[in-house]
């Protein structure tokens, strides 16, 4: 369960691993509207995302929630990447809000410029989100992102983290986990896949800037995702949300398993869900039923080699990452086995 204030989402259902049953148990106002034909779609159907794309799902829920939270007074800046390419094969555009794509590494700064223009023109009722993948955000966009945090510009930045450069054909990013296979970290040599002891946590870097709100979320828990977007929009100043979005193409997982893979990442401790305000950790989502890291890895071909006997050290390194997350973010519910 989420610690801390959580007025909008007091009730969560874990009985079936979905919200379907739980929805019927809720009163009308609290029910999810994900399946309703009345539901607004900021990201319209017909876009070109792959089957099972986690990013398309994540972006749709993020932008919809942000639109609801701002009464549709929202402008979006988008980094170059899958999300940009699959949503705007002109003359078609899947976006139903004012949306601009400028470059790969400058979405945070474009967001800053939009916010500054709105402030100059007395339109602070209109809010701004900027969004991109992990490459655009945590590698090439890092300078602009840090500048936006530093100046505390009134922008919510959303990073859809699928742990590699998917749009260019699955190359390593700073978010690619150790041992994972990509097109530039191939399964070859004595340390196949991505090197161990590399990478960085951008949510923690964001927290180090002392900005109003930092959170991680995942597409397997859309209520939690929406709750965090709405909460982020209740703050002014710089905010950062990182959404875990499996990529079937890049990860070698089945499109039908996107939600399952995302859930397992959280349940095994590989992707911790937490919130922070003004640099302080305020809440983390407890793991109710801890799963072995192997359960998460074995659904993805990018990790297939870590199960070979000679690569046992890689599996061990991945287990250690999960252990560390669990310790660091206090992820285990009381009484849960720490082994």
């Amino acid at each position: 369960m989420t610690k801390g204030p959580d007025s909008e989402q007091r009730v969560k259902f874990y009985q079936t691993g979905t919200f379907t049953v739980g929805n019927r148990l809720l009163n009308e106002a609290q029910r999810t509207v994900q399946a309703s034909v009345e539901r607004a779609n900021s990201l319209d159907s017909g876009h070109r995302a792959c089957q099972g794309c986690g990013e398309a799902l994540g972006a749709r829920y993020v932008v919809d929630a942000a639109l609801r939270a701002t009464n549709d007074q929202l402008i979006a800046a988008n980094a170059t990447g899958c999300l940009e390419v699959f949503t705007t094969p002109y003359p078609e555009s899947a976006w139903r809000l004012p949306w601009i794509h400028s470059l790969f590494g400058n979405a945070p700064a474009v967001g800053t410029g939009i916010a500054a223009a709105l402030r100059a023109r007395g339109r602070e009722d209109v809010r701004v989100i900027a969004q991109g993948g992990d490459g655009g955000t945590t590698d090439i966009g890092m300078g602009c992102l840090s500048g936006m945090f530093d100046r505390n510009d009134d922008v919510l930045y959303v990073c859809y983290n699928n742990q590699a450069y998917m749009n260019t054909g699955v190359q390593r990013s700073s978010q690619t986990p150790p041992a994972a296979r990509t097109a530039t970290t191939t399964v070859a040599g004595s340390d196949p896949g991505n090197e161990l002891n590399t990478g960085k946590s951008v949510p923690l870097i964001a927290m180090a800037h002392g900005i109003a709100y930092v959170a991680t979320a995942s597409v397997h828990d859309l209520h939690d995702l929406e709750y965090k977007v709405v909460k982020a929009m209740s703050f002014h100043g710089a905010r950062y949300l990182e959404v875990f979005v499996p990529c079937p193409l890049g990860w070698g997982s089945r499109p039908a398993d996107t939600i399952k893979v995302a859930r397992l990442a959280t349940q095994c401790g590989m992707f911790p869900l937490f919130e922070a305000e003004y640099g302080e950790l305020t809440a983390s989502t407890r793991i109710r039923e801890r799963k072995p890291v192997e359960d998460y890895l074995k659904l993805q071909r990018r990790f297939a080699h870590v199960f070979a006997l000679e690569n046992a050290h890689q599996l061990e390194a991945l287990r250690a990452i999960a252990e560390r997350n669990i310790r660091r973010f206090d992820l285990l519910a009381d009484g849960e086995d720490t082994a």
Binding site: P98, H101, S102, A109, G113, A120
Partner: protein, 420 residues
């Protein structure tokens, strides 16, 4: 109001009079005084509700400008040299998106060797970035042309660079009549964007365009720049009617009627050149001057018309296309193609090398006798170059030339001093 004022301060005041709404600032010599001046005015509340942002890089600066201009705010920034290169991806993006951003370029060399002084390498590097590039000859023009730049940018929905020579203009204290607020307001209407990000009328900006339409989009960029060839003189005439000053325009000629030789150049060297040519005319030379004020779009036809009667054109520029020669000279040659005019390319003033009346006179005396090699490197120390070439030939691992040449010159100075 007439003031004895630094060029950068005059530009800052002129930009402030244009009522900018967003300014992104990043320090780089020699443009820094401009954004410092604007930052101070904004902080004192003298520029309305203008937002002044201290950004983390030039790439960030231009990116903030893109977001701001796309949201319909009048937007300004300034840069120089390495800063121009660092923001280059966003420079192309601003013009591609049709955003009327105005940027001052305090023209400065590009390294290495690191050099903070003036030449045109930075704005020439952005020559093909589809921005309008206006060059100014003095600080009065610098102030005036910024006012015209906002008008032009917003009328054409294109970004405009105002190129002023670093230090020579940015740091020079001269007499400037900074455009007054009332007349600026008369000249420059409120910004009505061609496109804006607005929740009331959502648009998608920055879509991907494939082979089926890319050529047409690029043609339109070219076409729109050529349209500015009409707007620029019209705005200059309106400006002159209102302010009583001749600033801006496509090009300006000085005493070229019936002259056999015409010097073509841009920027602050125009002033020095005028004085040298007056001397030469007094000594019997048939020589005049043409200053290019709009470098992009390049006024090909106007240049051709103006120079049609000349026998000889000497293009003097502070820029070099390595492996080719003069950049401005190539443009002039294209404009004069098939006319029976000899065009000489002279490259000088690189990295702030002083351009004096004396050394210009020596070069032009050779020029009017058709004795300039192609291209001619003005005021080049040939002995130093020869010694370095010899060293490169003779030594196994000769190391970097920049440091070696400095050592050579320092040594020669020491020898000269000891023999005094």
């Amino acid at each position: 109001m007439l003031q004895q004022i630094e060029g950068s301060a005059a530009v800052a005041q002129a930009v402030a009079a244009c009522r900018p709404e967003v300014i992104a600032a990043y320090p780089i010599t020699p443009q820094t005084h401009i954004v410092e001046g604007l930052g101070d005015m904004v902080k004192r509340g003298l520029v309305g509700n203008c937002q002044f942002l201290n950004v983390e890089s030039e790439f960030g600066a231009m990116s903030v400008c893109i977001g701001s201009s796309a949201t319909g705010a009048r937007t300004y920034t300034a840069t120089s040299s390495q800063g121009m290169l660092f923001m280059m991806e966003a420079v192309y993006n601003a013009s591609g998106l049709g955003l009327p951003i105005v940027m001052t370029v305090g023209n400065r060399a590009i390294g290495p060797p690191l050099n903070i002084w003036n030449d045109w390498s930075d704005s020439m590097a952005a020559r093909d970035a589809a921005w309008i590039q206006l060059f100014v000859e003095d600080n009065q023009q610098a102030a005036d042309v910024h006012v015209q730049a906002f008008r032009l940018a917003e009328a054409a929905s294109l970004p405009v660079m105002v190129c002023m020579d670093g230090f020579i203009l940015t740091h020079a204290y001269t007499r400037v009549d900074v455009p007054d607020q009332a007349n600026v307001d008369r000249f420059l209407p409120a910004f009505e964007p061609h496109q804006a990000l607005d929740p009331l009328a959502p648009i998608t900006m920055g879509a991907m365009v494939g082979p089926e339409a890319f050529a047409e989009v690029r043609f339109l960029a070219h076409y729109k720049q050529l349209e500015a060839l009409d707007l620029i003189p019209r705005h200059a005439a309106e400006f002159e009617a209102l302010f009583g000053r001749d600033s801006g325009g496509l090009l300006k000629t000085f005493d070229i009627e019936d002259k056999s030789t015409v010097v073509v150049t841009m920027g602050s060297v125009v002033g020095t050149m005028k004085s040298v040519l007056a001397d030469m005319r007094q000594d019997g030379s048939s020589i005049g001057l043409l200053s290019i004020r709009s470098y992009r779009p390049f006024p090909k036809q106007q240049l051709r018309d103006a120079l049609a009667g000349a026998k000889r054109v000497i293009v003097f520029e502070k820029s070099l296309a390595v492996g080719m020669g003069g950049i401005l000279a190539a443009d002039v040659r294209m404009a004069l193609a098939s006319l029976p005019i000899a065009v000489y390319s002279v490259i000088g003033g690189l990295g702030g090398r002083p351009i004096t009346r004396d050394n210009l006179r020596r070069m032009l005396d050779k020029g009017v006798r058709d004795e300039l090699e192609e291209p001619h490197f003005h005021d080049l120390d040939v002995a130093v170059v020869h010694r370095e070439l010899e060293r490169l030939r003779d030594i196994q691992r000769p190391g970097p030339s920049a440091e070696s040449i400095l050592r050579d010159i320092a040594g020669a100075d020491a020898v000269a001093r000891s023999s005094e």
